[in-house]
Symmetry: C2
Subunit: 353 residues, 2 copies
Amino acid sequence: DYDKLDNIVIGVVGGDGIGPAITAQAHRILEFLLSDEVAKGRITFKVIDGCTIEHRAEVGKALPDDVVEELKKCHVILKGPTTTPRAGDPWPNIESANVAMRKELDLFANVRPVKVPEQGIDWTFYRENTEGAYAVGSKGVHVNDDLAIDFTVTTQEGSERIARAAFEYAKKTGKTRVTAVTKANVVKTTDGKFLRICQEVAKDYPGIELDDWYIDIMTAKLVDPKRRTQFQVLVLPNLYGDILTDEAAEFQGGVGTAGSANIGKRYAMFEAIHGSAPRMVQEGRDKYADPCSIIRAAVMLLEHIGYADKAKKLERALDICMYEEKKLVITGRDTGATSEAFADYVMDTIQAL
Amino acid sequence: DYDKLDNIVIGVVGGDGIGPAITAQAHRILEFLLSDEVAKGRITFKVIDGCTIEHRAEVGKALPDDVVEELKKCHVILKGPTTTPRAGDPWPNIESANVAMRKELDLFANVRPVKVPEQGIDWTFYRENTEGAYAVGSKGVHVNDDLAIDFTVTTQEGSERIARAAFEYAKKTGKTRVTAVTKANVVKTTDGKFLRICQEVAKDYPGIELDDWYIDIMTAKLVDPKRRTQFQVLVLPNLYGDILTDEAAEFQGGVGTAGSANIGKRYAMFEAIHGSAPRMVQEGRDKYADPCSIIRAAVMLLEHIGYADKAKKLERALDICMYEEKKLVITGRDTGATSEAFADYVMDTIQAL
Ligand SMILES: CC(C)[C@H](C(=O)O)[C@@H](O)C(=O)O
Ligand SMILES: CC(C)[C@H](C(=O)O)[C@@H](O)C(=O)O
């Protein structure tokens, strides 16, 4: 409970590729909105530098010890996208820093809202964030030259806490339905367990209906304007949450427009949901990177630490600026604003609200 | 090679729920189109009855031995949807008959075309059909009350043959790009292997470019009218193929409009991609079930066994009837035709072509 804290430390992790450029802008906006609180000593910003692919590759760890140490001095973290090594990259085959941070800080709930009011879309995804296909990470087994095996893991505790988080959110916000999405007809042991636990948890929330669908048909349902508006809160194992939230974000304007909250009992991390776009950096275009997703993450961070009014303000300003930008694009007057100019415009808008 | 066979045996498996109703209609259409060949003794139809959920439950096997024996007497199979037991169902927890048949007959390539000519969509999905998350099936492990584990399996041979099938198809049809879809940034061991093998196989097809995307962002790309037209042939591990083809079919009018070919070295099975809709049967509405998907499967079957002209005819007739039906729905004159009436209409249309 952040109300009881005298001082809240907000860690800022730039990440890789376009990460530093866009994170710097979201950081500026947060400093602007929280300047009084900083002056009062209630809020402290802490920039954490070492979470770069170069440093991670050097120490051969998805999350170097010094970074973990710094992260654990923060209460909440704002994080830019990080680069995950791919086959053919110059880096060793280390795990995603993203995934490692979620596990290291036990950020079990990945909350991703997608809203398109004019189309009746108002979804909140509760993605389990530490288990499933992500649990064992890069530690699958090459049994021999022919055979490779990976593991999917579901625990009672892991499933129960994400199911409960989804139902608690539904209850708090007056929602009437939670939808569990699995592939329990095939991945029977783990997904079957996940679904059963959702059904158990549902019993504690009599006013809220639990329905369930398989992930394959869900991707089709989201496309259908007539069927998709029935969904409110969705709860999913890690991999299906990863997949379905990217599709969902597309209806809102793409992954570049969606923020993501990674919440645990002790820490919380807020991030852009898109990747680090190393190609933009190579082409020297990182200063034009779109900061909307990480600003959306900043909105969620403000809300999470108890500054609901400031969060609302920033959200409204961001919505307005995004519509303005869309208009410029549609009317062919888009001049390709830099991330910095966009952030300035957001702050101007806040002052005009 | 079917050209060399004196007699081709087409097995017909009704399945569960609405399966028997719609399969019967596709069967009638095939008999109509192939009547000369049946008279000549070139084609034999063989109805296989025992593949019902009741019989499967009774013997406690996803695919009873007597059914397997009958199936193996056929060259190709037309199959209606089957019911997979779910938690809470009266059936024991047996595996999907669908999945079992793919494994039992080693139908390693699941080929699913999706076409929307007026939107520039012309995709052919090559889904690996026997491994991945489906390999171990219901044989995951409950380690203890807390912990459940499932396994994902990728083999060299399994990946190579599906990759090669996709590239061969691309080559044969003059396509210039094959897209591999994995989650190799997280599921590194198995998906990483799958992707590497695709890259290896690609070297044998110099005129065809291989690109690759992660499954999460692919679900977003398919939604975007500007980006989705770049895809031609896609090759995917089992689970991602399952997921992405349902989404893809939605742009064509839903899973009810798409057929699916399951092809192995020795056998081939053609099926509707939708489920068995037991609710329609409970409500006595199975005779109104939409047979389009299984008729689409019949088109693929005809093409596969070497009757390309008949396949083209049936495809054209089906397309025409589907547009007619859509018009009736749009103009509010839809009278809810039965599957039988729809099949009659398709055959009338064939005669008018
Ligand atoms: C970058 C990748 C490891 C990550 C994930 O798969 O979780 C991303 O897609 C996301 O959704 O945050
Ligand atoms: C019914 C189910 C087992 C099956 C699958 O997951 O493969 C279906 O969704 C399909 O795509 O054919």
